[in-house]
């Protein structure tokens, strides 16, 4: 084969006849968390395939820290991460209704003003 690419011309293609990925070559996946600044939270950004945590960190650096700011990366085996089933999404449904957990729910100014008018309170 004559290629425009000098690197391709240096390959000995005769040595490669069996171009199939053997199915036993699955490396496990690791979930990657990226922390951009010191003091900020690490945020899930994706996965890498690796056999060890050290290899996962190196690949995570190449994949998720190529540009911009990075302070640290975390990796965790996919099989070690537990989640709710998406079918259980409804267990969180009523949370936004719990306005009593919201500081904006507590409004007292009107009551204070009514009280002051009624009792002629001046400061």
């Amino acid at each position: 084969m004559s290629s425009l690419d000098p690197r391709v011309n240096r390959l000995d293609f005769k040595k490669a006849t069996d171009g199939e990925v053997h199915t036993n070559s699955h490396l496990i996946t690791w979930e990657v968390f990226h922390q951009d600044k010191r003091g900020k939270q690490a945020v899930h950004v994706g996965i890498v395939h690796a056999s060890t945590p050290e290899m996962a960190l190196i690949l995570a650096k190449e994949q998720y820290a190529r540009r911009g700011k990075t302070t640290n990366l975390w990796v965790a085996k996919t099989s070690d991460v537990y989640t709710f089933s998406t079918h259980d999404e409804d267990i969180f449904e009523t949370t936004p209704e719990k306005t009593f957990r919201d500081p904006a729910f507590y409004k007292v100014r009107d009551r204070i003003e009514k009280f002051q008018n009624r009792n002629k309170v001046t400061i």
């Binding site: 391709v8 070559s25 490396l27 890498v48 994949q63 989640t83």
Partner: protein, 328 residues
């Protein structure tokens, strides 16, 4: 760099005949209609999963095969700054391939299965990468116009319904804006340079013009349609609409450099639609089916990489670890 939403006729037929649980289908379609994303653990129609795998996988293959024509010129970049930019771009493309393989994996097809389908020819990649990068000007044109075309496609697809694919595309589009800018910079330097630099740029534009028109796939009148893919937000714009958007954005940016396109019929009509000569759709089909200038080389290089690297992967394997489908 590319995502194909073109259906084969057989796929289109099956799309319309597969029967799904009506209740689940209704909830699924209602979720998409509300603008919510579908996540890997959700119920989804068989054909939705299948078409997404096909599309994301092809996109992933395009990224890694796309790195090959550009990689051709890393050793001969004209200066250190251009070499750094090209290495960074090629590394990005391979990284994008990894992100996309991951997104497809969440749908249940392993990365190794996808790689095997690429090597056996069962799975396709974008046609543009079966053309050679003859000169340095090809690198400029690929960086500017092929990436420009890809960004049109990917920006549209990132509004789709499948969460992991959208997330991958958002990251990809962000990084590819650098590819586009450095490609434009490269094109402008050649266009405003010596006579010879202008000549190789013009020659590259002449050769890439038709593959670029082919990029978005056959005209709408010729391609198999599926209303379902639109409804399910797997396909978000027609081939012709995307092609028109691309021409609208990029033709003026070439013409302003006093570089021309090899088509006397290329013009925008009164309705804002770009008209052009038939870019030879038979050639497009021939090249997709293996008869392009570089198809054999691209696959041979990938096969070599798989085989030459096998002992490393085997040495790294830990057989006691069990593979599990990634979460997102």
């Amino acid at each position: 760099m590319y995502g194909s939403t073109n259906l084969s006729e057989e796929d289109a037929r099956r799309m319309n005949t597969t029967v799904e649980d009506p209740e689940k289908l209704e909830a699924f379609e209602a979720r998409i209609a509300r603008g919510e994303k579908i996540e890997p653990q959700d119920w989804m129609p068989v054909e939705y999963r299948k078409q997404l795998i096909r599309m994301i996988e092809q996109h992933a293959h395009s990224e890694i095969v796309g790195a090959l024509p550009e990689g051709t010129w890393i050793t001969r970049a004209p200066n250190f700054r251009r070499k750094l930019a090209l290495i960074a771009k090629v590394q990005d493309e391979v990284g994008h391939g990894q992100l996309l393989y991951s997104a497809a994996e969440t749908l249940g097809k392993t990365r190794e299965e996808m790689m095997n389908d690429l090597l056996s020819g069962k799975s396709k990649y974008s046609n543009v990468f079966n053309y050679p990068a003859n000169t340095w000007a090809d690198i400029a044109v690929i960086g500017f116009l092929v990436d420009g075309a890809a960004i049109v496609n990917q920006t549209i697809n990132s509004k789709g319904s499948y969460g992991p694919y959208c997330r991958a595309l958002e990251r990809i589009c962000y990084e590819e804006s650098f590819h586009l800018k450095q490609g434009h910079d490269n094109v402008v330097y050649l266009a405003t340079g010596t006579k010879h630099q202008r000549a190789i740029l013009q020659d590259a534009i002449n050769r890439w013009y038709r593959p670029l028109l082919h990029f978005f796939g056959p005209p709408d009148v010729q391609s198999a349609h599926s209303e379902k893919l639109m409804k399910w937000k797997v396909k978000l714009a027609s081939n012709d609409d995307m092609r028109n958007q691309f021409l609208d954005m990029y033709v003026p940016k070439i013409l302003e450099l006093d570089i021309t396109f090899p088509d006397p019929n290329l013009k925008k009509n009164e309705d804002g639609i770009w008209e052009f000569s038939d870019p030879d759709w038979d050639e497009f089909k021939r090249v997709i089916n293996g008869d392009g200038p570089c198809n054999a080389e691209r696959i041979a290089v990938r096969k070599f990489a798989e085989e030459a690297g096998r002992w490393v992967r085997q040495a790294l394997m830990n057989p006691s670890e069990k593979y599990q489908v990634p979460l997102a």
